[in-house]
Symmetry: D2
Subunit: 278 residues, 4 copies
């Protein structure tokens, strides 16, 4: 039997598959599980958030309350981490490149500023952008002694390790997953989990009770791909929304929660334009 | 000069225009300002939320802290209200018909249940669904004495006024915007602002500092419609995303906030699929 | 019948009565209702907090989300207001003179700084200290155009009105309870409710459902004073703790909440020192 | 040199020392560091809270968001844990025996109920009372399959281990610090860290950046005891408030925070009763 398609879990993976699609290099259809609402709204926001802070705490045993936490990126991961960091008592600063997300962060009560302005006031830095060299030479130059650097985004490229190494005159491992880089002017910058995603590097990754959503979406997507075999064009596809809803329904049922259903009158109303408009 | 198009501000308006579009009754192109991110993410979430609770407080002078607030609907309005009600010290219950939204509410730490189960435990009920007869006969039957009923959604149809009137043996106005309906078994249900949207009925509506976003989007949309004249098909259109971003940029600038921009290396990286994947 | 005592509701009142006591000017015993836990923990924290923000919103129709709110004082009033302001989406800064309270504010996730440093970054200033001339000339000099000044503490002395008047070259009333003071360099500072406590000046004061606690304490205190007549020394007295607990019990009962009671085994354990220590 | 006194860190320790004092069994003066504000307001509230949830997460890798967390006790530990659990996305229920604390929990937006009523709805139970047999036979009988039991209070007596053992027909260790007790009717109750305090049993205990406050208080108390030698009566003493304030000042300074000082005019005002009262 031939390959009939694939499913992709991560934001970064989907970005890459889309880049391949634009270059016509994709060999078969792929379902972007990452973009399913039951993945995107939950795994990235709740799973990454808790486990990243868990990783930081396990590695350092730092108290989050009273700290200034600087988060680069206010996408699903970043906003999840921001909410959890505040929930643990931090003063949270957001750096963003997208003005709409930046404005959302402002309205959510966070301080928003350029990362360069945040560099000297942050105690803990967390990159969650999906991009490269986010926290870099110019930021290291302005950080306070003891600043903690971590990555909750992807790979090990968000904290620029080359820049960090060349800024350091001295480095040593303080405890597992905690490495200290001493600069020429005597400041110590603390890198967690070698700059790899801190929830995998220093904790147990996403809890099972959020991964189950993603895995359910993969399973339903694979079944759907099989059903569609031969029909679906090569490209990056969304999970059909009825499957997305089915994942959420099953999860709610497993948690013993029961929700309302639209009455017939309501269904008609939502489909109409006459009622109520006079 | 002939009509070249329109712009529509509200969720309900857009629902109606889409219904007209499906029936081919729309006479010209319309831009759904409501669906612009700078409208949807802000006006509905922050404007409606604060002003609806403001309306409830002005009408009743109730302390929100310690109350159980039941919100029907976890769309942009509902989640904004939920966040503000919790921020004022309420225990918040969410009723929803969409399982994904319901699951989000659960993960956000709210209790989610059928409205019928929430009826006997709520102190303040707020409908924010865009639908009809959301809080109705069967719910009134199970509410406690003193329950407060309000609408933060649309029109005056979310709290079913016919049902409320027929449930009452007695009604009287307690103070402006506060009407008491006494049931045959002696319970008093309190309706705010005649069931009309409580932020307009009992407070000053959305603050200027959130309406400015919507109005900026209207202005840019009108300019864009004029530029497109003759080209745009009849239908409901999205605000072009670069205009949406422009609104956010102008707002951030007006607040004195400055944000990061992608470096060239980052732009290349986000468009690539080779880097970092080895 | 002669006077047998008094009861005092407010923080400031108790401060004054204690000053009189120290100077032996107090003519009869007084119960400091303000210091009862069912007053202090609730009225000041929940009542003042909600109603002060309510007053600010009614006067100005400002959106609190996205604003920087500076609160002088982190006592019961200040921390209540801080919690509510954050709950409405503000970025909150605390100014304090007591290092323990300041440290608490830091650990609660707020920024703490000298009021002079907060002056140029705040959008809304709220004094809640019980002291005099808290927001004054030197602060006015550094505020941004449009800064809002309010008092949630006591009297009309926390915002220094003399200093404000002498800083202004021009003043006019914008809407009821909103007066604009224009400085020589063209900045407009906005004073709410003539500098009087903004929850009384621009809103309805404390909600009934928090005042009931204080009034219950007064009632029980008066009964107790009558019972003690002739025995109690002249001075400022605490409400006996069993009366304080009785107020809370009655309130919980009125809200339909039922709580646990210690088992006999637990009562013995809490009074012992042998168990569990081996 | 003879013993001149002692210092005691914990709530439970101070309870015991006071019991000894009442029985005249105390051999020398002791300073109740636990009751110092810089201990009580910080260590118990922020240190225990974060590290207890950290312990629960490390042991189980559970997602806290969306869970119902039941906390027995709303003292400093309990309220800290409640705040952090909510901050991680939990729906929090409080059980208390003190009506004032129970009412505070209500006003803070938590559900308050008898532990027996909370038993069937909780996913995670945390005892933080300082008492004995808090979660016991009658509660185990009503819990759902999968309920997690933990102790964040003291010793290993808050979760009644005898009752749990006798309720179980089967027990096995699932992973380190996680033991499953299966009841005759097939429900599995999960005990963490053998019922010992979960922040020490399953995590690293309090972070250094909160313990430094307590240790500073001990150091200053020892110095003070030495200075007072021969003068201080045998008994449990408070840390003098100027030393308590000194600890907070040093901590703020170490965090680079600077606070306001009262002006002379303010000091006079706070000591007066004439001003402002006309």
């Amino acid at each position: 039997m031939s390959v009939i398609g694939g499913t992709e879990e991560t934001t970064t993976g989907v970005l890459r598959l889309r880049a391949m699609e634009r270059r016509r290099l994709l060999p078969y259809p792929v379902v972007a599980i990452n973009d399913a609402e039951t993945k995107r709204l939950f795994d990235n926001r709740f799973g990454t958030a808790q486990s990243s802070l868990d990783g930081i705490i396990r590695a350092t045993n730092e108290l989050i309350a009273g700290k200034t936490v600087v988060i680069a990126g206010y996408g699903h991961c970043g906003r999840g981490i921001a909410s959890r960091a505040r929930g643990l008592g931090a003063d949270v600063i957001i750096a963003e490149v997208n003005p709409i997300r930046a404005l959302e962060a402002v309205m959510d009560g966070f301080r928003v500023m350029e990362l360069l302005d945040a560099a000297p006031v942050g105690n803990i830095f967390i990159a969650a952008t999906g991009s490269i060299s986010v926290i870099r030479r110019e930021h290291f130059a302005h950080m306070e002694d003891g600043a903690i650097l971590s990555n909750a985004g992807h790979f090990n490229v968000e904290v620029d390790l080359n820049d960090l190494e060349s800024a350091a005159v001295n480095r040593r491992t303080l405890r597992p997953n905690v490495e200290q880089f001493e600069t020429a002017d005597g400041r110590r910058l603390i890198l967690l989990a070698e700059g790899r995603v801190v929830n995998l590097g220093a904790a147990d990754g996403h809890p099972a009770s959020v991964m189950d959503l993603s895995f359910a979406a993969h399973a339903l997507a694979v079944e759907w791909l099989a059903e569609q075999n031969g029909v679906l064009e090569i490209g990056v596809h969304q999970l059909p929304s009825e499957l997305d809803l089915r994942v959420a329904e099953m999860k709610l049922a497993s948690m013993g929660r029961s929700i309302d259903v639209l009455t017939e009158r309501q269904r008609n109303y939502l489909d109409s334009y006459e009622e109520g408009t006079k």
